[in-house]
Amino acid sequence: MTLLPEQVSDLFGLEGTFGTFFGALVGATLISVIILANAALAGPWAKRKITAAFTDRIAINKLGPLGLGHILPDSVRLLSKEMIIPDGVDRPAWDIAPIIIVVSALLGFAVIPMGTILGVNLHLADPSVGLIFVFAVASIASVGLVMAGYSSNNKYSFLGGLRAVAQNLAYEIPLILTGISVVIFAGSLQMSEIVAAQSQTLVTIGALSIPAWFGLVNPFAFLLFLLANLAEVGRNPFDIPEAPTEIVAGFQTEYSSVYFVLVYLGEFVHIFLGGALIATIFLGGPAGPVLPGFIWFLIKIWAVFLFTQWCRSALPRVRIDQLISIGWKGMLILSIANLVLTAVIVGVLPT
């Protein structure tokens, strides 16, 4: 399938370097708009509604149907707040950190195949190292977090930054190892290959054929990945870096106004990136019956989002030492075991 940049340049009849550049720019803008519409506009609204449903409340309902109208005044309110820059912050680092957090999460979407809708294939790039690319750019967020924590000149931020790094270190490795077990199944790091490998039929029950989604082929890896991803995006029970009742708001304590919006947005985009990754490598990407692929893809992302919100409402936060020991002593060993097991199964079983 042709990728989105080529489709755009074909549409405008452009060729050569300029065509590639123009197509990439327009394509990237389109993808960003889709992601931001989900993460920045629908995300916070959905979070409020979902949390309210879990806690027996009604939540926003005054403006528009289901309170959808609140999105606009909300964003105006957030953006128009006074920007408070505390004394003694390390200026360039403090300014750059929120941008890094958002950008690192957004970059990951470049290689995610989001399926087709109305004949448009929403897939920006398909490098042969797609999966590694996602992990690599998503990890850059840790740099942003520690920058934010360290440059804020606030002890709570500092603690939050340190916690964020400790947590990301502990959970990045199981995350990637579990991801690799999928690569063994698919035989490729390329996202489109991974999705294609999941389109085969696993079993057929009557008229119903169950696709070979890796989440179904290897549910153990799926669970591991889901958990590690929760820690990666910093949601309960692993929201240690923010931990409002302990260290106020962690690394984002000193951020206000636009910077706060960026940090907040970064978190949401991260959750969505985690969802996109899970959808792609475990849930068959955009595959699904009847509806267009892109819609299926969105449904899967939102299902993961719902899961994170569910955990947030229902599970207590673990302590920092428990988090680290779960990561290094539990998740790491399980993910290595999973990797070895997968390798053995794939090696022994005939295709």
Binding site: T55, P244, T245, R312, A314, D321, Q322
Partner: protein
Amino acid sequence: MSLEQPAVDIGVTPEGELDYDELEALLDEHVLEREQHVNCEGFVIRPDEVETVLSTLKREAGFDHLSCLTAQQYQDRYESIYHLKKYDEPTHELAVIVPTTTEEPTSQSASSVYDTAIWHEREAYDLVGIDYEEHPDPRRILLPETWQGHPLSLDYNKKKPQIVPLREHANPMEKRTGVPGESDTMFINIGPHHPATHGVLHIKTVLDGEQVVDVDPDIGYLHRCEEQMCQQSTYRHQIMPYPDRWDYISAGILNEWAYARAAEEMAEIEVPEYAQVLRTMSAEMCRIAAHLLAVGTFALDIYGDFTAIFMYAITDREKVQNLLEDLTGQRLMFNYLRLGGTAWDLPEPREQYFEKVRDFCEYIPERLDEYHNLLTTNELFQMRVMDTGILPPEEAKSYGCTGPVARGSGVDMDLRRDDPYGYYEELDWDVITDDGCDNFSRALVRLNEMEQSARIIEQCVDILEEWPEDEREIQANVPRTLKPEPDKEVYSAVEAAKGELGIYMRSDGTAKPKRFKIRSPAFSNLQSLEVMAEGEYIPDMVAALGSLDIVLGEVDR
């Protein structure tokens, strides 16, 4: 019972009564004089023998509970009164009175005998101005360090305003000791504005990495001179609204009862049985409301967000408040009790109200199952709160902890049973204790206590329903202006939501008390935070603070 302690303490008759003569003999020549208080006798001792006398009493006679320390100034002297009790038998009370001269108000500190004396003596120094020798931490506690004068002393100029700017407190580290100098520690101010402090509490914390090395709670941000306000109000009408504002988390009637009990004992007022049942029922409703909030906010501290359990607790608390509103007309500041009775009878139609209360009593155990599902049987929750914030029973006693905090450490004391008042003696209910000594047990005790409270309420409803219509007496005969005889002293306590809430009053023959002292349970409980938190991680300190269930309005008064 350890082997060191004799089965029957010295100074107790075989019938279980306190024998003051034997106690006097035990203390020998230390007792200079004996005084008669309303509930107990007082021994006057020399200011330089406090430690000897108290340690003898604690060791030999089993007075292991320093319930309260009242300091006051007379025209010719200062006086510190140590109100001693026993955890096993709270009706065994003894007041140890330590007079000092006006010129040199110096008295020996009791802090080496009872840890709880540290804070109580700091308060006495702060508000009245008595110096305690050998005190480990002789600072002010409620007022800022730079405050001039002692507000409850006789020569204090109440007209002169004092403004304390922030820069006076620029260096909060200065006077702290006990922090290892060589290790890499970090000082951090938790509060006064922090999501976990449940009000304006400021905890000066020293961290070693994520571990807490030293905590020093700094209280007094919500000090509203409640004791002084009560001293300027009349017994009969003006004091009663104030107790609602101490523990303002809907434990109002429990607090009112503390004052009502002390004043009624002082003025020898008999409360009609019917009013006692009403009081018992409404007080237990308040206890449920207070415990619901305690459990909800504790969960909030552990979970970290406004999660299901907190909202459920608040929803249920609203239901109790509806019942209380029907009864008293208020949702928070009830002002329901009167000296000698209550303000109103049950709302009409009575059957409808009984039905509502019964429904609630049936509903609460169901909900408690839900709480147990979400909290106590939740493995993640257990992982977080079990074996953290350990408060051993000996420490709990030494720090004067009472209420669910003490009962969570296995200290079996509940004034409702041990020093009965109201209608509790006639009813069938259990005192909940747990031997866990950790954050989990304290939460568990609260959850289970709610079930018992529901039982009490149900029985009260049964009794009220059967009560003959012409005997519904809600108010005893109390003179319009209550003037107890001069120099009567009373110290009396009830089991409030957070523990033993005691009131000390001294009359001078007028319609207003000369000295009004509040023994706040949260104040004493908060002091034990140091024991629970030091050496733990920050999250466990926060959990310990949540499990203490302090209300700053009551701590600071």
